[in-house]
């Protein structure tokens, strides 16, 4: 079975919610819409206090090229435009909407009917995706339209659909694939048209045999879409790792992934693209895996954006007594949050409620140079060295040893037998080194 070539780990999968269908979560009483639910500039608010909005009304406009529109996920009245503490605890600008009923914009087609035909040309599709505020909802929330418009000197040859879901616990993509296979395939066709490629690979990890079977069956008569079954290994869902696993090409250090001729899109993004282009539906809801060993009703919930995570946990059976930590996203790349009132956003793929007994980090002990982190690093870096270099403030060494290539997957910290917080230091150093590199580049200009 195919997989990427270097590094990687295989944490216990713990996919408690695998095989569970999508359940629609109830509407919140008040939705809080963060203005930065994507990578890039926060969107610019265009509504005012007291305005009444419907589901799908544009709330905030993209502010620059790398930014995304934000639409109202609920109908009601704008209560205030203020700030809210996001997952990190820092106050971020947000729009508060008091929910009244559930009235949708007339332009949105809410029928279940599958629309296969798409008569738009490539540019019109990209414009539509831009307008509907679609971002990569695998987790990175990079605006999709930017990815669909590669630099003119790079010609995409294949589309790779990321249906890997290599993070332990998360099953939201799996549930979506089982429920909306036809829609996803139409979404893939639209994406292929938008980037003008003739061939698509759908990469699925082998721990989802039912999804592999379903998609193989749906695409058995076609030559343009191929399902690739992949060996279970983290971080296979990383863009660079997936390209390596599926078509065997490596992204050079510092280069864009599209330089290999492959454009990668998440499977849930393909579904969102289908809904945006064919049904006029903006990105206002997503499947969120709410999971944890002590939760009463863990599951895959279809939730509108802007719902406080405490309410989603309530839907899943309430906060267990023994809760020690709540993580937004998967256990490997997700971030623990100190604030359970923080609203969900476009990038909230999962809410993981970890019991107290598993919530704590071990006390770090000295590095014994066992180099387990080196074997685990999927980017071929030396995490023990990088973290030490950052800790003592020697950023020259860190830069020399390609710290900027780090994808922050956490394999190093996971594999360290001394429980050293390797990624904490590397992430810090990466930010500093990249800032130095940017200012150097700006000086040259």
């Amino acid at each position: 079975m195919k997989t990427f070539k270097i590094g990687g780990v295989h944490p216990r999968e713990n996919k408690i919610t695998a095989g569970q269908p999508i359940t629609v979560a109830p509407l919140p009483q008040q939705a809080v819409i963060l203005l930065s639910q994507h990578i890039g500039a926060p969107a610019q608010c265009i509504v005012e206090k007291g305005d009444s909005v419907k589901v799908g009304t544009l709330l905030a406009k993209a502010n620059g090229f790398v930014s995304a529109n934000i639409h109202s996920p609920v109908s009601g009245t704008i209560a205030k435009i203020d700030t809210v503490a996001d997952g990190s605890g820092y106050q971020k600008p947000a729009i508060y909407i008091n929910v009244e009923g559930d009235e949708w914009n007339e332009s949105i087609d809410r029928s279940e009917e599958l629309i296969k035909e798409c008569n738009l040309d490539a540019q019109a599709i990209i414009d539509k995706i831009d307008q509907m505020g679609i971002v990569g909802i695998g987790g990175a929330t990079f605006p999709t339209k930017v990815k669909l418009m590669p630099p003119p000197n790079m010609k995409p040859e294949v589309l790779i659909i990321n249906a890997v879901e290599c993070e332990p616990y998360l099953t939201n993509d799996h549930a979506l694939m089982m429920a909306k296979a036809d829609q996803i395939i139409v979404g893939i066709e639209i994406l292929m048209k938008a980037v003008r490629v003739e061939r698509t690979f759908i990469g699925i990890e082998a721990n989802k045999p039912d999804a592999i079977e379903l998609f193989k069956q749906k695409t058995q008569n076609r030559k343009d879409i191929e399902v690739v079954s992949l060996q279970c290994r983290y971080p296979q869902g990383g863009e660079k790792q997936l390209i390596d696993a599926v078509i065997g090409r490596q992204v050079a250090s510092g280069a864009l992934p599209v330089s290999t001729g492959a454009i990668v899109q998440n499977v849930a993004t393909a579904h969102a693209v289908y809904e945006a282009v064919q049904k006029n539906k903006p990105l206002i809801e997503r499947v969120v895996t709410v999971t944890g060993k002590s939760l009463a009703r863990p599951g895959n919930y279809l939730a509108r954006m802007g719902m406080p995570i405490s309410q989603l946990i309530e839907v899943a059976g309430g906060m267990p007594q023994d809760t020690g930590k709540i993580v937004l996203g998967g256990p490997m790349m997700g971030r623990a949050t100190a604030n359970i009132d923080t609203p969900t956003g476009k990038g909230t793929s999962g809410i993981l409620v970890i019991p107290e007994s598993e919530a704590h980090r071990h006390e770090p002990s000295p590095c014994i140079r066992c180099a387990k982190c080196v074997s685990a690093c999927p980017m071929g870096l030396e995490p023990y060295l990088l973290s030490k270099a950052v800790a003592i403030g020697n950023l020259e060494i860190a830069e020399e040893r390609n710290i900027y290539d780090c994808i922050e997957c956490g394999c190093c910290s996971y594999s360290c037998p001394a429980h050293r917080p390797l990624l904490d230091y590397i992430r810090q150093g990466k930010g500093k080194v990249m800032a130095i590199m940017r200012s150097r580049a700006a000086e040259k200009k």
Binding site: S88, G89, Q91, R335, T337, A338, H360, D424, R427, G431
Partner: protein, 291 residues
């Protein structure tokens, strides 16, 4: 016997020739350096903190020797005493400069600012700050991991084990500003050192609205501007829901300390006040809890 004699003679000859070559080269390529640079460097504290704005003590000594006047040159660690010595060495006139000291503008001890979560990541303020708002409700307050302690070359800062806040030893601190630069939350400010180390300052950096700030910390500045109204010297300004006392304008009358409803303004190193006589009816509260 013969071998020993030969070896002694030959080694001595090699040594002599090498010494001669070294001497000739040393004379030939001698760099004339002002001997006063060494003297000045000796007089400096040797902390190499960079507080003077130069790369280190040697570099500062060089520029002192080169400069036509010592005006504007100050070794913040050595202070006026060292500058006086340097002036004597160089035969220049010494310029009195006010000494400065690092001040920690956060009073959010565990007692004032309850902990809301536990942080188990790398013990480093910069990393914690980039990750999240911290283990209390305040996103502006001290994180207590001690980046300032490890950067201080004089050992003037330590973390109080009870309050988990940094404490500056004003007798050692030279106000070089290394801690101020390293603090990711800009809590440490370099302020004018008052007589006997006295100082009045707002020990809070929280820019949230009053209610939010107060909810996170009992002694937060809520930006009510009562202190600004009380101040007769226009030393206090309010911006972003936060009060700031200009140490150059402050006359240390301590009226603002009494006016502050949350106790966010601290007056340090003052002698204890006389007990307010019950005869004065205007004072309702006794300002006793301000050190």
């Amino acid at each position: 016997m013969n071998i020993i004699t030969i070896s002694i003679i030959s080694l001595a000859t090699i040594g002599a020739i090498a010494a001669l070559i070294l001497y000739v080269i040393a004379q030939r390529f001698k760099v004339d350096e002002d001997p006063r640079i060494d003297e000045v460097e000796k007089a400096l504290p040797g902390a190499n903190c960079g507080g003077c704005g130069k790369a280190g003590c040697r570099s500062f000594a060089e520029s002192c020797v080169k400069a036509s006047s010592l005006e504007g040159m100050l070794c913040p660690v050595g202070g006026n005493k060292v500058m006086q010595q340097i002036a004597t060495i160089l035969g220049k006139e010494a310029h009195e400069a006010e000494s400065r000291v690092a001040v920690v503008r956060c009073n959010g001890s565990c007692q004032h600012r309850p902990q809301t979560n536990t942080y188990e990541g790398a013990h480093n303020c910069a990393i914690t700050h980039n990750l999240y708002a911290g283990n209390t409700g305040c996103a502006y307050g001290c994180l207590g991991c001690g980046d300032c302690v490890s950067v201080c070359s004089l050992g003037a800062i330590s973390i109080d084990p009870e309050t988990h806040l940094p404490v500056v030893n004003i007798d050692i601190c030279g106000g070089c500003g290394a801690c101020s630069r390293v603090c990711p939350r800009n809590i440490i400010e370099i302020r004018k050192k008052g007589p006997k180390g006295r100082g009045v300052y707002v020990a809070c950096m929280n820019k949230e609205k009053g209610g939010v700030a107060r909810k996170a910390c009992e002694v937060a500045c809520i930006g009510c501007s009562k202190c600004a109204k009380e101040c007769k010297f226009e030393a206090i300004t309010i911006a972003n829901n936060l009060s700031y006392i200009d140490s150059d304008k402050c006359k240390m009358c301590r009226k603002c300390v009494d006016a502050c409803p949350t106790g966010a303004i601290l007056a340090v190193n003052f002698p204890p006040r006389k007990v307010v006589e019950p005869a004065t009816p205007s004072t309702e509260t006794t300002p006793s809890d301000n050190k």
